[in-house]
C-alpha cells in the first residue's frame, strides 16, 4: 500500500500498541499532524500547552502503565522544549519515544528556519537517538526506538524525522524481520557462580538489609522480593523511587533511606553486615559520604545496567541481570532464616524515630503543617491514591507520610529532581490508569513552572486532583538557606497568584484549605467531581523536612527534629 512517511509513523505507533500521544504541532511535524485525521479513531492525541508537559505526561503514562510513553513535537523550539522531560526520563530509566519533526533533509545543516541539532543536543540524555532523513528509514528507526526504550534498562529514545521524509511516499508493508541491533544485548541472568557466592553471603549474614529501588518495579520483581524478605527474614529499605516495591505496612518494610529517609533506616544501613542492593544505583542522595557508607557490610548488587556495579560503591558480588530473573534463580536455594536480634535492634531505633515524628504531635488549631496536610490526605484517600509529586519539601513529606501499599503508586522525579514534573506527569498517569484516583502533590513554586497544563486537563477533562502545598517559599531551598547559608533567604520567598481564582479561570473547580479540620471534607469534595480539581493548602511557611543528612555527610549524621518538635509550643500539653 502506498503511504506517506507521516502515515507510516502512525502505522508504526499502532503496531507498537500506542494508544495515546502527547504532543504539540508546528511546521516541521505538520505532515504527521495532517495524517492524524486518518488515525485519530485509533490513537488519542492530547494537545499540551508546552512540549515539556508532553514529555512529562508521556513519562507519567509510562511509569504507571509500564508501557512506552510517546511525545511529539516540531523542530527547533518544539524539540528543545522537550529536553528537560527527556533528561528526567533518562535519569529515572523511563521508557519514552519522542518524535520530533526536522527541517527538510535538503537544508539540514544550513541553519534553516527552526533547525536545531536535536539529536546532538539529546545525545547525552537519551538511551539512543535517530536522525531519519528518508521515508525508508522511518519504520526501522521507530521499531528500534520502541525496542530500545522498553528493554534492558529502559530510557528515552528520540527519533528526529525530516519533513521531506514525512512527505515522501513509499509502497509500505510493515517490516517483520528481526531487528538488526548487533551492539544491543541487555543482560538477563546470573551465572551459577554468582548465585553461589550471593547465597553464601546471605546464609552467613547476621545483620542483612535489602535496599530496594525502582528496578524492583521495572522488572516486576515485587513478589520475589517479598518472598526473599519473608523467608530469610531480611528487612527492606526503600529508595525514593523504590517506594511501592513492598507494602510499607509490612513489618519487614522499614521505609525510605537516604537524605530525608527515616533515621532508623539510615542507622540500619550503617550497622548492617550485608547489603542486598536490588535495582538501585547508590545515588549520592542515598549514600551520603561514600567513604563512611555502611562500613562493615558485604555487598550484593543486582542491576540490569552493568555500569552501575562498582560505580559508586564497591561490591562483593555484582550481578548484571534482570532482577526478577536473578531472584528467581536465587530463591529456590534460600533457606528459612531468622534474624530476631537484628530486627529487634532496628525496632528500637524505629521507636525512637517515631517519637520524634511530627504526625504524632498535635499542632495548634490555627496552624497547618504540610506534613499533617499530607498525612491527612493519605488518610482521607485511604492510602490508595496514585500520588504524583513535584520536587521540593512537599515531595519529601509525601515520601515520608503518604505510605505506599502497591507498586507504582508514587510517581516522582528522583534522579533529576525536575520542578514542574508533578502536575503534567499526573495528567499522564490518570490517562494511563483512568480507574485510579490520582493526586498531584505540588509546591507553589514547581506548580507555576507547568501550570499552563491546567488548560490541557480542562480541555481533555482529565480527572486529576491537584494539591498545592503553598508555603509561599521555594521551601526546600529555604531549608538549605536556613541550615547552610546563614538564614539569608535570597530569592526564595514567593508572591503567588490566587491559585483558586487561577484554577477557576481555566474552568477548574478549586478550594482553599487552611486548617486540618477541613481536609477530609475537601478531599471528599474533590473525589465527588468527575473533572480536574485544585486544592490549595495554605501551610506554615517556615518549616523543615526532618531528618536530614546534609549533602556529603555521613549517613548517620542526621539533623534530627528537635524534641519537642519545632514550632509546636503546646507539644507537651497535647502529648
Amino acid at each position: 500500500m502506498e503511504l506517506t512517511g507521516a502515515e507510516i509513523i502512525w502505522e508504526c505507533l499502532l503496531r507498537e500498541g500506542v494508544e495515546i500521544v502527547f504532543g504539540y504541532p508546528g511546521g516541521a511535524i505538520l505532515p504527521t499532524y495532517d495524517a492524524l485525521s486518518k488515525y485519530q479513531d485509533r490513537v488519542r492525541h492530547v494537545l499540551v500547552r508546552h512540549e515539556q508537559g508532553a514529555t512529562h505526561m508521556a513519562d507519567g503514562y509510562a511509569r504507571i502503565t509500564g508501557k512506552v510513553g510517546v511525545a511529539m513535537a516540531t523542530s527547533g523550539p518544539g524539540a528543545t522544549n522537550m529536553v528537560t522531560g527527556i533528561a528526567t526520563a533518562m535519569m529515572d530509566s523511563v521508557p519514552l519515544v519522542c518524535i520530533t519533526g526536522q527541517v527538510p533533509s535538503t537544508v539540514l545543516g544550513s541553519d534553516a528556519f527552526q533547525e536545531t541539532d536535536i539529536t546532538g543536543i539529546t545525545l547525552p540524555i537519551t538511551k539512543h537517538n535517530f536522525l531519519v532523513t528518508n521515508v525508508k528509514q522511518i519504520a526501522p528507526a521507530l521499531r528500534k526506538a520502541f525496542h530500545i526504550a522498553r528493554t534492558g534498562r529502559p530510557g528515552p529514545v528520540l527519533v528526529d524525522i525530516t519533513k521531506d521524509a514525512q512527505n515522501q511516499k513509499l509502497d509500505f508493508t510493515y517490516p517483520t524481520e528481526p531487528l538488526r541491533l548487533p551492539g544491543y544485548v541487555p543482560p538477563s541472568a546470573a551465572t551459577p557462580d554468582q548465585i553461589e557466592r550471593a547465597l553464601a553471603l546471605i546464609k552467613s549474614a547476621e545483620r542483612p538489609l535489602i535496599l530496594a529501588g525502582h528496578g524492583v518495579m521495572m522488572s516486576g520483581a515485587e513478589r520475589q522480593l517479598l518472598e526473599l524478605a519473608e523467608r530469610a527474614q531480611i528487612p527492606v529499605a526503600l529508595t525514593l523511587l523504590g517506594k511501592g516495591a513492598m507494602p510499607e505496612a509490612h513489618p519487614l518494610c522499614l521505609g525510605m533511606m537516604g537524605m530525608h529517609g527515616a533515621a532508623a533506616v539510615n542507622q540500619a544501613i550503617q550497622s548492617a553486615d550485608l547489603l542486598l542492593a536490588f535495582g538501585m544505583r547508590f545515588d549520592d542522595r542515598v549514600t551520603g559520604n561514600l567513604r563512611t557508607y555502611s562500613p562493615n557490610s558485604r555487598k550484593i548488587h543486582i542491576d540490569i545496567d552493568a555500569s552501575e556495579l562498582n560505580k559508586n560503591v564497591k561490591v562483593d558480588v555484582g550481578i548484571a541481570g534482570d532482577l526478577r530473573t536473578v531472584l528467581e534463580q536465587l530463591l529456590p536455594h534460600v533457606p528459612s532464616l531468622s534474624h530476631a536480634a537484628w530486627l529487634g535492634e532496628i525496632r528500637n531505633w524505629q521507636e525512637e524515630t517515631d517519637e520524634r515524628d511530627i504526625v504524632h504531635h498535635v499542632a495548634p488549631s490555627d496552624k497547618l503543617y504540610a506534613a499533617h496536610a499530607i498525612h491527612d490526605l493519605w488518610a482521607a484517600t485511604n492510602g490508595d491514591a496514585i500520588v504524583v509529586t513535584d520536587v521540593g519539601q512537599h515531595q519529601m513529606w509525601t515520601a515520608q507520610y503518604y505510605l505506599n501499599q502497591r507498586p507504582r503508586t508514587l510517581i516522582t522525579s528522583g534522579g533529576l529532581g525536575t520542578m514542574g514534573f508533578g502536575f503534567p506527569a499526573a495528567i499522564g498517569v490518570k490517562l494511563g490508569a483512568p480507574q485510579e484516583t490520582v493526586w498531584a502533590i505540588v509546591g507553589d513554586g514547581g506548580f507555576q513552572m507547568t501550570l499552563c497544563e491546567l488548560a490541557t486537563a480542562a480541555q481533555e477533562n482529565v480527572n486529576v486532583n491537584v494539591a498545592i502545598i503553598n508555603n509561599a517559599y521555594l521551601g526546600m531551598v529555604r531549608q538549605w538557606q536556613e541550615f547552610f547559608h546563614g538564614e539569608r533567604y535570597n530569592a526564595t520567598p514567593m508572591h503567588n497568584p490566587d491559585f483558586v481564582k487561577l484554577a477557576e479561570a481555566y474552568g477548574i473547580a478549586a478550594r482553599r484549605v487552611r486548617t486540618r479540620a477541613e481536609i477530609p471534607e475537601t478531599v471528599a469534595w474533590a473525589h465527588s467531581i468527575n473533572a480536574p480539581t485544585v486544592v490549595e493548602f495554605q501551610v506554615e511557611k517556615e518549616d523543615i523536612v526532618y531528618p536530614m543528612v546534609p549533602a556529603g555527610a555521613d549517613l548517620d549524621k542526621m539533623i534530627r527534629r528537635p524534641a519537642p518538635p519545632r514550632n509546636l509550643p503546646d507539644w507537651s500539653e497535647n502529648h
Binding site: T119, G120, L123, P124, H128, L181, G183, A306, S307, K311
Partner: protein, 163 residues
C-alpha cells in the same frame, strides 16, 4: 598503567561523536583514540588507550557497551599483541638528524626548503623516545595518528554475532 581497548562499532554516521560525547560526559580521560575501517564494511574499529591511574577501565568498557552502536569491546592489554603509532615529524635537515632517523628506523619521506619529514611507525614508547631525541634539533611540525593495536596469532578481535 596504560590500557588498550579495542572497540568494534557499527559503521554509521555519528558513532565517533557518541563515543567522544560519552568520554566527555563521564569525565573519562583518554590518551588516544583512533578509528578506521576493518575487513567488514559494516564495522569500524576503535583503539582506545587510557591510563588506569586516571580513568577506570571497567567503567569505560561498560559504558561503551551501553552505546547501542558499540558491538564489542576487548581489553587487549594483557594479551600478546602488537601496536603501532605513526608519527610524521618535520625537522631542519642535518646530518645528525639523518643519523638519528636511521638509528630509530625512521624513513625520510620528504626533503624540501631545508626541512625533512621523518616517518616513524613503531610502538608508542619508541615514537616518544624518537621525538625526545629530535627535540634539541628543532621540531618544526609534528603529527601522530595515535595507537592502533592487534592481538597476535589466535587472539582475534571479531564481532561474534556477525562473524
Amino acid at each position: 598503567m596504560k590500557h588498550t581497548l579495542v572497540a568494534l562499532v557499527e559503521n554509521e554516521p555519528g558513532v565517533l561523536n557518541r563515543v567522544a560525547s560519552l568520554f566527555r560526559r563521564r569525565n573519562f580521560n583518554i590518551d588516544s583514540l583512533t578509528v578506521g575501517r576493518t575487513e567488514d564494511p559494516n564495522i569500524s574499529r576503535m583503539t582506545i588507550v587510557l591510563d588506569s591511574d586516571v580513568t577506570r577501565v571497567d567503567q569505560v568498557q561498560k559504558n561503551l557497551y551501553k552505546l547501542v552502536n558499540v558491538i564489542q569491546v576487548y581489553e587487549i592489554t594483557e594479551q600478546p599483541s602488537v601496536s603501532r603509532d605513526l608519527a610524521l615529524i618535520k625537522v631542519r635537515a642535518s646530518a645528525e638528524v639523518a643519523v638519528l632517523a636511521s638509528q630509530f628506523g625512521a624513513r625520510i619521506i620528504d626533503y624540501r626548503d631545508g626541512a625533512m619529514i621523518l616517518d616513524l611507525s613503531d610502538e608508542e614508547d619508541r615514537v616518544e623516545q624518537f621525538i625526545e631525541a629530535l627535540r634539541p634539533h628543532g621540531i618544526i611540525e609534528l603529527v601522530r595518528t595515535g595507537v592502533v593495536a592487534m592481538g597476535r596469532g589466535n587472539h582475534v578481535v571479531q564481532a561474534p554475532q556477525l562473524a
